[in-house]
């Protein structure tokens, strides 16, 4: 990612450098060449439509190249590859809490293996923060009340700055951490030390503790829709709309169940706003994603392809 951004940056430096040079050379040359000399009056020139059109069109065309290039880079930045490793991030004044889908929890530090795509599913407990890793050229605001997503692939082992880039109060400048990029073997060793089990397992526990299973039964006979295989698939809503059951949708259904109710079900689910922590919401989302991947046969292809490999990894790691 960094090299893609830098390539565009260098292109822009060259283009704007040439524009600056052109203007400055004209300014300096005109200023010197046409300085006041007694007896030589200024020559009045009305203007030139041809020139105006030229110097509007050429910059505009150049701008369009920059625009298109910038848009391509941005789309890559904003589209995590399907088989990324997932990390749930909860920001709060003034720290970063990071939880790997595999189960490791970290504070202000994120260990990742070199060469793997890492997708961060982020939310904030309080104000807006921003996840900024200058070395990877990525930044994404972390907003309370919803998930935002960022991803990167580290290419060189090392320790990189993690900054909060959105002003968030007193210790904003103390909300810094590091991304520790390790060789895969090192990373595996780190991951195996002190893991609490996969996040989806935690989610399963929360799911049963909160009694979700009494309504969300798997046999489609419950008062709530079955959650088996729902992730990543389109959902028909009661008001006629269709939405994709992504992370943000699952999150919203837990915290504001009335907002996007599934077709054919009564508005009887209570809100869990304030009853579950951000970490528990993350765990629940991870759990629902894992049961969507469990039956690759009937589950939607989209969900299967994103979550299946992870579920297997998780499975092999539980005990």
């Amino acid at each position: 990612m960094a090299s893609r951004v830098d390539a565009l940056y260098i292109f822009l430096l060259i283009v704007t450098g040439m524009m600056t040079l052109l203007i400055f050379v004209c300014l300096v040359y005109f200023a010197a060449r046409f300085r006041y000399r007694p007896g030589i009056p200024a020559e009045q020139i009305e203007g030139s439509t041809a020139l105006e059109i030229t110097w509007s069109t050429i910059p505009f065309l150049i701008f369009m190249v920059i625009f298109a290039w910038g848009a391509v880079v941005y789309f890559k930045e904003r589209t995590p590859p399907a088989d990324s490793t997932e990390v749930y991030v909860v920001a709060k004044q003034w720290m970063w809490k990071l939880e790997h889908a595999e189960g490791q929890r970290e504070m202000n530090e994120l260990h990742v293996p070199v060469g793997r795509d890492v997708k961060m599913i982020m939310t904030s407990q309080d104000v807006i923060h921003s996840f900024f890793v200058p070395a990877f050229r990525i930044k994404q605001d972390v907003v309370p009340g919803r998930y935002t997503v960022a991803w990167f692939r580290a290419t060189k082992p090392g320790v990189y700055h993690l900054f909060c880039a959105e002003y968030c109060g007193t210790q904003h400048s103390g909300m810094v951490g590091s991304i520790v990029v390790q060789e895969p073997a090192q990373y595996e060793a780190w991951m195996n030390g002190g893991s609490t089990g996969p996040l989806s397992a935690t989610g399963e526990k929360v799911f049963s503790e909160l009694g979700c299973a009494t309504c969300h039964r798997n046999d489609a006979q419950g008062r709530g829709p079955s959650l088996q295989g729902v992730f990543g698939k389109p959902v028909q809503l009661d008001d006629g709309r269709t939405v994709t059951a992504d992370e943000n949708y699952l999150r919203e259904c837990i915290l504001d169940p009335g907002a996007k109710r599934v077709k054919g079900f009564q508005p009887i689910m209570p809100t869990f706003q304030g009853l579950v922590s951000e970490e528990q919401v993350n765990a629940l989302v991870a759990y629902i994603k894992s049961i969507s991947a469990a039956k690759p046969g009937e589950a939607g292809k989209a969900s299967a392809s994103t979550a299946a490999p992870k579920a297997e990894q998780n499975g092999s790691k539980v005990q």
């Binding site: 704007t16 200024a42 020139i45 505009f60 910038g70 880079v73 309080d126 400048s173």
Partner: protein, 556 residues
């Protein structure tokens, strides 16, 4: 340029300054020129407060550790620096001082259309300003000038509501100024002063006024919502109550992006006048420069979400706003090219106003071109919310707007005060400002690309940023000197300066055809315009010693 082209006027002639004396003759005046001076004094006060905050910020950043002030104090310093500089200095600066003084003079009117509303707008500004000073003295505010929710609505325990009300009130001052200008420019032009004969300064102010009228109410609404959310927990921005914090950003930038054009368009107007006068030429491409101001005002309303590319908005929205941001860059580029072309085959003088105009051209070009970086989606992600952005908007708003303001103050000072400022000192100050400015802000572009986030009180985790920060702080002290100098010699010239002739620059424009300083009603008789704008060929014609056709008595 040889300064006085005609004999200085004998002292004691009645003018707007000496017609009445006493405090009340100022505080109850409806003379646009006196109100301009009231604004000049008040915005200068706020400029130096904001500048003092900036100096403390730069001193804190001299070392990586947070050692000069507390973290909370630092956060208040940059917040109040922004609020004071934007709402109490930059937005009113050129329109309320130079615009107030010059719009009626330039179009040949006795005053603005609504003189009492003009005075009311100053009082609103003062009430807002007094409230802001009270807010600063009793604890201040720490939300940044951007007041982002939910920090401002649910978390900050500083005086957010009071600062919001102060800005709210000052906003109405800005709306009324814009309203006054629009009506005045439409209704009060002298006979013969057609739209195509208007000085481009007027076109720029017309465009600015449109933004003030249409944009500022949205800011007022937004701040009202913040106050309401804080007091009543309505759930507009608070996600816990079903609100959306990103909605705040849309509302805020809907005003605050066009506000940048409120600051830069008048400066463009000033620079246009200066370049024409000191090149002794009609502006190249008059109508393109005029309409580009309007284009900027219109397109300026359609780019607000380019402040939000990483805020969590959709990628498709980002695409649209990136594209439109490039569209708004075109009229700005047109202006720069036309100014440059105006110099071609000119007869260029290097008086202080022209030095400021050259400074403006250089700094605005750099500021504008770095905007291309920020409008490029892929790059914005990396550099937004870093010092790159800080450097970029200071190049526009300080390099551009303040350079234009100072250039204008020098250009029209003889008209405003009736006195000449010391030219040598003024050229020196222009040079110091230019050098100080670049030394302060250029290193910040590098800091930003290296990844230093803005609004950081303490950077002890990344001491590698110190060298560039030291350079920037050094530049800030130079810049401070550069800004103090004009204030000192302007004040000095009021008492000791040589008297100015009516038209010391031999400049085109109706404002130069009346006395320096003008009388209360500007012209002894209503002027009739029979010539095009920037008729420097006539002014410089070898045997043009006939009196200009000013104040030709004509029956309406």
């Amino acid at each position: 340029m040889s300064m006085p082209t005609s004999m200085p006027q004998p002292d004691g002639r009645e003018n707007y300054l000496n017609k009445h004396y006493g405090v009340w003759s100022w505080l109850l005046t409806t003379d646009h020129k006196r109100i301009a001076l009231l604004y000049l004094i008040s915005i200068t006060f706020f400029f130096f407060i904001g500048g003092f905050f900036a100096l403390l910020i730069r001193l804190e950043l001299l070392t990586p550790a947070g050692d000069l002030v507390q973290a909370d104090t630092y956060n208040k310093l940059f917040s109040m620096h922004g609020i004071v500089m934007i709402f109490f200095f930059l937005v009113p600066s050129i329109p309320a001082v130079l615009g107030n003084f010059l719009v009626p003079l330039m179009i040949g009117a006795k005053d603005l259309a609504f003189p009492r509303i003009n005075l009311l707008s100053w009082y609103l500004y003062i009430i807002g300003g007094a409230l802001m000073v009270h807010c600063m003295l009793t604890g201040g505010v720490d939300t940044g000038w951007t007041f982002y929710a939910p920090f401002s609505t649910n978390f900050s325990n500083t005086k957010v509501v009071e600062a919001g009300i102060a800005v709210f009130i000052a906003g109405f001052s800005s709306i009324l100024t814009g309203l006054n200008f629009v009506v005045t420019i439409h209704r009060m032009r002298a006979p013969g002063m057609t739209w195509s004969r208007l000085p481009l300064f007027i076109w720029a102010h017309y465009a600015t006024s449109i933004i003030q009228l249409l944009g500022t109410p949205v800011l007022a609404i937004t701040l009202t919502l913040v106050a309401a959310e804080r007091a009543l927990h309505l759930g507009i921005f608070d996600p816990k109550l079903g609100g959306d914090p990103i909605l705040f950003q849309h509302l805020f930038w809907f005003y605050s992006h066009p506000a940048v054009y409120i600051m830069i368009l008048p400066a463009m107007g000033v620079v246009t006048e200066i370049i024409a006068c000191f090149s002794r030429k009609r502006i190249f491409g008059y109508s393109f420069v005029a309409f580009s101001s309007i284009a900027i005002a219109v397109f300026g309303f359609l780019v607000w979400a380019h402040h939000m590319f990483v805020a969590g908005t959709s990628v498709y929205a980002a695409l649209v706003f990136s594209l439109l941001s490039y569209a708004v860059a075109v009229p700005s580029a047109i202006k720069v090219f036309n100014w440059t072309a105006t110099l071609y085959k000119g007869s260029i003088h290097y008086d202080a106003p022209m030095l400021y105009a050259f400074g403006f051209l250089g700094l605005f070009t750099i500021g504008g071109l770095t905007g291309l970086f920020l409008a490029a989606l892929g790059i914005d992600v990396h550099v937004t919310d870093t010092y790159f952005v800080v450097a970029h908007f200071h190049y526009i708003m300080v390099g551009g707007a303040v350079m234009g303001y100072l250039g204008g103050m020098h250009f029209w000072w003889p008209k405003i005060s009736g006195k000449l400022y010391p030219e040598g000192w003024a050229r020196l100050a222009a040079l110091i400002v230019f050098i100080g400015f670049n030394l302060t802000f250029f290193p910040q572009f590098l800091l930003g690309y290296l990844g230093m986030p803005r609004r950081y009180y303490d950077y002890s985790h990344m001491p590698e940023f110190q060298v560039l920060n030291v350079l920037s702080t050094a530049g800030a002290t130079v810049l401070g000197v550069g800004y103090l100098l004009p204030m000192i010699y302007f004040l000095w010239s009021m008492r000791y300066g040589k008297p100015a002739s009516d038209n010391p620059w031999n400049a085109a424009g109706l404002e130069w055809q009346t006395a320096s300083p003008p009388t209360t009603f500007n012209f002894e008789q209503e002027p009739v315009v029979t010539w095009e704008a920037y008729n420097y060929d006539e002014l410089d014609a070898p045997h043009n010693d006939a009196p200009r056709s000013e104040e030709v008595p004509v029956a309406r």
